[in-house]
Structure formats: C-alpha cells, structure tokens
C-alpha cells in the first residue's frame, strides 16, 4: 500500500513537472520558431542560444507589480487563473505516457490512472476549462475582458460538440474509451495501423477542434490583441497573467499528447516487438517515441500559428456548426456502416 502510494506520488510529480517544463520551453520554442519563419534569430541573449529565456521570463513575471482592479470582483478575479491552471494540469492524469516498466519483478505502469472512462474524463476537464476564462473575464469588470470571455465560451462550446462527435467515430471503431486500450490496439503487426489511417476525416476534425479549444491561431479570437487588447486577460498582470498564458501552453502540450495517443499510436513505434529488445528498453523508447510525436504536434501548432491569419467570428461559427458538425456526423454514419459490413462479411 505504502509503496503503491509512493510510486503514484512520484509518477504524479514527474508528470506534473514534465508538463510544466515542456510548457515553459514551448514559450521559448514558439518564439524561436516564429523568428525562424520570419527570417529572424529570436531570443539569443539569455544563456547559449537563449535557452535560459523561459527562466528570465518567469522571473520577470514574478517580479512584476500585481494589480487587482478596484472595481473587479476580487475573489473571482483570483479564482479565474487558478481554474485555468488546474484544468490544464488535470488531463495529464489519464494519458498513457508509456507501457509498464519492470523494476525488481514489480510492474509499474507509466499511466497515473487507467479509468475506464478516459476519453470522457478528458472531455469533462476540457469543458470546465472554459470557466477559468469566463470567470476571469467577467470578474475583471472590463468590456474587452467580458467580450473575450464570451467569445471564448461560445467558441469552446461550439467546437466541443464537433470534437465529441469526431471522437465517437473513433470510439465506435475501437470499442473502448480507455486511452490505454486505444493505444494498445494500435501496437504494430497484423495490420494494426495507427488510427489516423482508418479515421482520416475524424482526425482532421479533431485537429481543427483542438486548435479551437486551445485558443490557438487561427481560432485565437478570445484573446486577439488587435481587436480586444488582450481579451479575457486584459486586466491581469504579474503571475496571474503568467498562469493564463502558461495554461495555454500546457493545454497545447496535453492536446498534442491526446492527438498522438488517439490517432498516432501513442507510445507505440514501428517494429517495436520485432527488434528483440528488452521490455524496459521498449518502454523507454516508447516514451521517447510518444514525446517525439507530441513535439511534432506542438511544432504543428506553432507552424500554423505563424502561417494562417485569424478567422472572423461569423466564419468561426459557420465552420464549427455548419461544416464540422455535419461532417463528423457523416463520419459517424460511415464508420457505423463499415463496422456493420465488416461484422457481416468478416473482412
């Protein structure tokens, strides 16, 4: 019992720390990638190649003056960034970061908890994530903040629907909503290919919705600087602002992990069982493979951000309700049809 608790505690702390570090360096990566795509150098003063830049930014955020507006609702003003940060860190619990590691004859799974409603849990956390933005935006008592908050909530609700529907097709195919089982089904050999091969449309819809849910360009309407000053975090300063920005990067990391797990085989990599490696080595390589996939998707997020301009609000709603939702319903129907035909004719 005690060893179980210690093992889980260590796992939780490690995953928490890893998500924070990845989010920290995503800010650095974002600035570097933006710079390279615009033929610039990017941050290069703090440490070699500027790799200490996130630390400098963090120190700056902490040292800045803390301003809580006089007319704001103070309790809720503080609650907003707390919720944003909390929900951002919560999803990492159900993601299988790797297979089990065997130490001293004891198997230790690299997933904090394999609850059998993994995908639903993810959605539940996602749907409360919007409260951080809404409460913060409303409590600031500022027009721009309120507009940003309202935009955020309507955008998130709209795209959650399409996201859920795109996942349903995947769940119909795999027959489970445990992320662990979904990953294991994509293990190599016997034509067990990554789910993206079977669900290309679903993947595309999921990807677009993930962009919208994490408030990334081209769907960054809740915080568009050019229209709303800063959106829901206009009134925030110091580390509270830092939490909001940080939560966005953690969300990006987690959603990349979810995409990699659901559609790109998670910690599986090609020929993993054919090379004659030991179990532990396969697990470690699997973790490396998963992180390679995650970093690719983080890069994709940034790549798209520095390529595509922002949508107009009506275009955003049209895309969500009139294109993505019908498309995902069609995808569900098609998946159901093929599943039925497969059962009937055994192919």
């Amino acid at each position: 019992m005690i060893s179980f608790l210690i093992y889980k505690t260590i796992l939780v702390i490690v995953i928490f720390a890893v998500s924070l570090v990845v989010a920290m360096y995503s800010t650095y990566g974002e600035r570097k990638i933006a710079a390279f795509m615009q033929d610039r150098i990017g941050p290069n003063r703090a440490g070699p190649f500027g790799i200490l830049q996130p630390l400098a930014d963090g120190v700056k955020m902490f040292m800045k003056e803390e301003i809580i507006p006089d007319v704001s609702n103070k309790a809720l003003f503080i609650l907003g960034p707390c919720i944003a940060m909390l929900t951002a860190c919560m999803t990492g619990v159900v993601i299988p970061w790797g297979a089990a590691i065997t130490i001293g004859g004891e198997k230790y799974s690299l997933q904090i908890t394999d609850i059998n409603i993994g995908v639903l849990y993810m959605f539940g956390v996602l749907s409360i994530g919007v409260y951080g933005v809404m409460i913060g935006g409303w409590a600031s008592n500022n027009k721009f903040s309120l507009l940003g908050a309202i935009r955020a909530s309507s955008q998130m609700i709209s795209y959650e629907v399409a996201m859920g529907l795109s996942i349903i097709a995947l769940v119909m195919m795999t027959g489970t909503i445990s992320l662990k089982e979904i990953t294991e089904q994509q293990a190599g050999g016997n034509w067990n290919m990554w789910n993206v091969v079977y669900q290309p449309v679903g993947f595309l819809i999921f990807l677009i919705c993930a962009f919208a849910e994490t408030n990334r360009t081209p769907f960054d309407l809740p915080e568009c600087e050019t229209e709303l000053v800063g959106g829901y975090h206009t009134e925030y300063s110091s580390m509270k602002l830092g939490f909001y920005l940080f939560a966005e990067y953690i969300n990006m990391f987690i959603s990349s992990a979810v995409i990699a797990t659901l559609y790109f085989g998670g910690y599986n990599f090609p020929f993993m069982h054919d090379l004659g490696l030991s179990e532990n080595l396969i697990t470690i390589l699997g973790v490396v493979a998963l992180f390679a996939k995650i970093f690719f998707f983080i890069f994709l997020y940034m790549w798209v951000r520095w390529t595509v301009p922002r949508f107009r609000y009506d275009q955003l709603m049209n895309l969500g309700w009139k294109i993505l939702i019908p498309l995902s319903i069609g995808n569900i129907m098609l998946t159901g049809l093929i599943t039925l035909l497969r059962q009937k004719y055994y192919f």
Binding site: D39, W303, V308
Partner: protein, 189 residues
C-alpha cells in the same frame, strides 16, 4: 501607366469546391513558412556586429582642434544661425594672455551646447562653419535616462588631444572641399 507586370485583376467569381476546402491553400502557405524556416536569418546582432555605414554618415558632432591642439571655434554663431532645429547655443569669451595654446583666435566659445534631442543631424552647421571647427562624425548619439543628458557641452563635443583626435577625413571628400571654398553658396541665399 503600368509600372510592373505583377498586378492581378481581382475577380469576384464563386470559388470552386476545391478552393472552398481551403486545405490546399493552407498547405501552400505552410510550405512557404517552412521554406523560410530554413533560410538564413537576416538579423544583424547589433552591439556585436555593426552594419556598414556610409562614409558621409552624419552622427554625433565634434569640435575640432587645429594642428597645435588649439580649439578652432571662434564663437561666430553662424552654425547657430544655420541650424534649422535651433539646437545650438553658445557664449563667446575673450582669450586672455597665456591661453594662446588653448584657443586659436582671440575670441572663443566659453560655452558651446548642442541639444541632441533637437538636432536633426542635417549637417548645415558643418556647412556654415567658416573655421572648419564643427564636424559631424560616424558616431551614434547614445541613449540616456535624462533629458538633461542629451544637452552636450564642450566636455563631450571638443575632440581629445593626440591619439584621442576624431578622424573626419571621410567627410572631407573632394566635392566637399570644392564646395567649402565658395562659402556664399551655403547660407547667403
């Protein structure tokens, strides 16, 4: 008049289905950004690397000394008159006995101030000077936290002695020398 052949006629026709998918266009755009990703940055890391500037670059002023090290300026005030931004002020004083090695002529500038916030670095002072005393150099005026810090007195303007002399030969091209011979072109219009 058509200047280039790059102009395109804008048409408002309905988009085809392939265009309405947007994905080809988005992927094309991403291709372009990826191409730039591998290009060499055009950044010049300023304090370490300095861009080449023209020989006749007009930067911070200097008050020259003559060959013996005496100040050339005689506080005639022509530079102040020529200055369109009214950045130059000066107070004249008479040279005392024994100061011959310090000042070249009997009258000299006891105070000579240029307000670098007003100065537009046009170089008219240099043109107006009959004594070849004031020159603009290729040095950049550094930033400052105070407004007062931008008012440069003689301590900052007069060039040093011996090895601390400021080289202005770049500014004295042949055309300039030719022009300087005929002073009435400069400010008697």
């Amino acid at each position: 008049m058509q200047l280039t052949n790059r102009s395109k006629v804008v048409s408002k026709k309905e988009m085809t289905f392939a265009e309405k998918l947007y994905f080809p266009a988005i992927l094309g755009g991403m291709g372009i950004t990826l191409k730039h990703f591998f290009k060499k940055p055009v950044t010049v890391s300023y304090p370490e690397v300095k861009r080449d500037i023209a020989g006749v670059f007009r930067g911070q002023h200097t008050l020259k000394r003559d060959e013996k090290g005496a100040e050339r300026c005689t506080a005639c005030g022509l530079c102040a008159v020529a200055c369109p931004a009214e950045a130059i002020t000066m107070t004249a004083a008479e040279r005392k006995k024994g100061e011959e090695s310090l000042y070249r002529e009997e009258k000299y500038a006891a105070v000579y101030e240029i307000n670098m916030l007003r100065c537009i670095f046009c170089g008219l002072c240099e043109e107006a000077c009959p004594k070849e005393a004031i020159f603009l150099t290729d040095r950049i005026v550094p930033s400052n936290f105070e407004r007062d810090g931008f008012i440069y007195g003689k301590d900052k303007l007069v060039e040093g002695m011996n090895e601390n002399r400021v080289d202005v030969t770049k500014r004295q091209t042949e055309e300039v020398n030719e022009f300087k011979k005929d002073k009435h072109y400069a400010h008697n219009k």
